[in-house]
């Protein structure tokens, strides 16, 4: 009999220690293993499969600090059966966790470059670990710019953290919303409009992009116009995932398995896939 614990299809129980609503449909959990076992480290950009007892499993990117792998942080948007049920869970409840899975943002390789992060909506979640890492290793990078687009001011994720980052002299943060509401005094418009104004050296920049596919397509066009080489641009993809191991086939994107060859891809290697429909 092979020990069940080593079967990659079997989830490990994690307890929710902290819950935090981010906006109307998005929430953040902090989790720790029930059996107290040490978590294996993760790389910024990787994801876990989260299982809600009796309901199902979903792929959710990791949003916490890679320097602190013992607390697992996930920011999730309640849009499907599993995530809606997950949103109702309270501190103390147990989730199943499998992972971490997938490729990650090439932060080590990006040293010596400017870092340009372009993200929208829930796409900020898989990039937060990258920001933590870059800020912890700040001297290794040139300029660091975060461009973030949200639907309305009320939808902005990690708002207090963004505000504190914006206060830093060595990190440039620009936030824009599609629809201004209330007392919003910031930018209104699409995130790509911020690219033109952002200070970075196109030829020595590594761009990390995550958001809805349309947003990423427009971002790629803008980055190309600015002269950022396609092999310096990385994006994170989403596809249906059932196993995260390359066994279920669902996440295929052309010849790629998003779970295994992604979710982070170098743009020049998937350029044809991103614009082609029904692949």
């Amino acid at each position: 009999m092979i020990a069940v614990a080593t079967d990659p299809m079997v989830p490990q129980p994690f307890r929710i220690h902290k819950t935090k609503p981010e906006n109307a449909d998005t929430f953040t959990f902090e989790l720790a293993p029930v059996n107290g076992a040490k978590r294996s480290a993760f790389q910024p950009g990787q994801f876990n499969m989260l299982y809600v007892y009796g309901v199902g499993e979903v792929a959710i990117s990791i949003s916490g600090d890679p320097a602190n792998p013992n607390t697992l942080v996930h920011t999730t948007r309640a849009v499907g059966t599993v995530t809606k049920r997950m949103k109702k869970l309270k501190g103390g409840a147990v989730l199943g966790v499998r992972g971490p899975f997938g490729t990650y943002w090439p932060l080590k390789e990006a040293e010596g470059n400017d870092i340009l992060i372009v993200t929208g909506g829930i796409g900020l979640a898989p990039l937060r670990p990258a920001l933590y890492y870059v800020l912890a290793n700040r001297t290794q990078y040139g300029r660091v710019v975060l461009l973030y687009g949200a639907r309305t001011p009320g939808d902005i994720l990690y708002r207090r953290e963004l505000e504190s980052w914006r206060g830093k002299l060595d990190l440039e943060v620009h936030v824009t919303v599609d629809r201004a509401t209330g007392t919003w005094r910031g930018n209104v418009g699409v995130v790509t409009s911020l690219i033109n104004r952002a200070p970075f050296d196109p030829e020595n920049t590594v761009a990390l992009v995550c958001g809805p596919e349309v947003m990423m397509q427009f971002t790629m066009q803008e980055l190309e116009k600015k002269g950022v080489p396609a092999d310096h641009v990385f994006l994170s993809m989403e596809r249906n995932m059932k196993c995260a191991l390359g066994f279920c086939g669902h996440c295929q994107w052309g010849p790629k398995f998003v779970c295994r060859d992604g979710p982070v891809f170098r743009y020049d290697l998937v350029e044809d896939l991103l614009t082609r429909r029904g692949i």
């Binding site: 009999m1 092979i2 069940v4 079967d7 990659p8 299809m9 079997v10 989830p11 129980p13 307890r15 029930v34 299982y51 007892y53 009796g54 309901v55 199902g56 499993e57 948007r77 849009v79 499907g80 103390g92 409840a93 147990v94 199943g96 809805p212 989403e238 596809r239 249906n240 059932k242 196993c243 191991l245 390359g246 066994f247 279920c248 086939g249 669902h250 295929q252 052309g254 010849p255 790629k256 398995f257 295994r260 290697l269 044809d272 896939l273 082609r276 429909r277 029904g278 692949i279």
Partner: protein, 382 residues
């Protein structure tokens, strides 16, 4: 090479049974030759064959006394190695959580009787997918590691067979414990036997077979060679993977999609299609939960669902996904083709879509758009 007289086939099967194997082999059922548990050679489709063409299958009584006079029916060995429904795990609910319940599920030790060369290749492909990647599939391994494989060479290829094109038959070359060739020669009916593993060797040792004579060897060789020359279908595979990657926008996809019912039959009968879904079930009280894995098909809409919609909404995109995965992107993913030329997808397609025919048309370039150019080699014709 040894020789086994046809009357002694049961000696071989009995030797396997004595070793604790559950025999699974071809039987006649529901008007087709399918795989099921067998007790002895008398359960085999003796004297039966079948006639296959695009969208058609007929069981025929040949009255020739052959044990393996057919090719392949709708079943393949994947239903034993990667069953249509498998429970991945069970969990027990508790006041504030759950725990995974370990269990020692009994997986039979199968001996597969009558595995064709194309199917050996299909099993090798499944091994590559489930055992030789970055992760190992435990459920597959549990079934695969003990399986005894008794291969049988094809001497009468079927109407939709093209294993010769795919370099996957008709002769069993590797991946078996024992391989037989059924020979009718000058009124004699016997099997030549080749050993492919230590386990096979041990079984053979028990049977005390005599060495095959030179004429017997020649007769076996001749039967297989004849089979190779009479394939019902053909597929040109040179440069095919790269070529199909450049045919994303070919007008022929629309033509096939008009016929395709997106029923998924081809994926169910394909011996290498491995895609699966998972189902989470609970009892009403929530005291127990289970996770089941079920076969899935890239022809369903749900297969590509992500929040906001389905990625492959049209029959064009789904048929294209299936064909290009099988013959093109499979190479990028697993360094091999996903097709073994068994012809099942052609026979069992309710509207008779013929993979070999579609490939022939797609080879004639039209609008060429290359995808996945990472390793991409542009179409040689352009």
């Amino acid at each position: 090479m040894f020789v086994l007289r046809h009357a002694r086939l049961d000696d071989l099967l009995d030797a396997l049974k004595r070793r604790g194997f559950t025999l699974v082999g071809p039987v006649v059922r529901d008007g087709a030759i399918v795989y099921d548990v067998i007790a002895s050679s008398s359960d085999l489709p003796i004297g039966y064959t079948h006639q296959q063409d695009a969208g058609s299958y007929h069981l025929i009584e040949a009255h020739d006394g052959a044990f393996f006079g057919y090719t392949v029916g709708p079943h393949s060995w994947k239903q034993y190695l990667n069953p249509p429904r498998t429970r991945l795990w069970k969990a027990k609910g508790s006041a504030n959580g759950f725990e995974i319940v370990q269990e020692n599920a009994n997986v039979p030790r199968y001996a597969f009787i009558g595995v064709r060369a194309c199917e050996l290749n299909a099993i090798a492909i499944l091994d590559r997918v489930f055992l030789q990647g970055s992760a190992v599939d435990f459920e597959y391994r549990r079934r695969r590691e003990h399986a005894f494989i008794l291969a049988v060479d094809c001497t009468r290829p079927g109407g939709t067979c093209f294993c010769a094109s795919m370099n996957a038959g008709p002769q069993a070359r590797s991946g078996f414990d024992l391989a037989l060739t059924e020979v009718f020669d000058n009124g004699e009916h016997y099997f030549t036997v080749v050993c492919g593993s230590e386990r096979g060797d041990e079984v053979l040792g028990e049977l005390c077979l005599e060495e095959a004579s030179e004429p017997e060897r020649q007769a076996a060789k001749h039967s297989i060679e004849e089979a190779g020359r009479h394939m019902g279908r053909k597929m040109e595979t040179a440069g095919l993977a790269e070529l199909l990657a450049s045919r994303v926008e070919h007008p022929h996809w629309e033509v096939v999609a008009k016929r395709c019912l997106t029923c998924g039959n081809c994926t169910l009968v394909c011996p290498t299609c491995f895609c699966s879904n998972v189902e989470d079930v609970t009892d009403l009280a929530g005291a127990f939960a289970e996770r089941w894995r079920t076969w899935d098909s890239c022809f369903t809409l749900d297969y590509s669902y992500i929040h906001g919609g389905n990625v492959r909404k049209t029959a064009v995109s789904r048929y294209r996904q299936w064909l290009t995965h099988k013959l093109s992107s499979w190479h990028s993913q697993f360094e091999m083709s996903g097709c073994v030329g068994c012809g099942r997808c052609i026979t069992w397609c309710p509207v008779g879509i013929d993979l070999t025919e579609e490939v022939r048309v797609l080879r004639d370039g039209a609008t060429a758009v290359t995808i996945g150019t990472e390793k991409g080699v542009p179409d040689a014709k352009h």
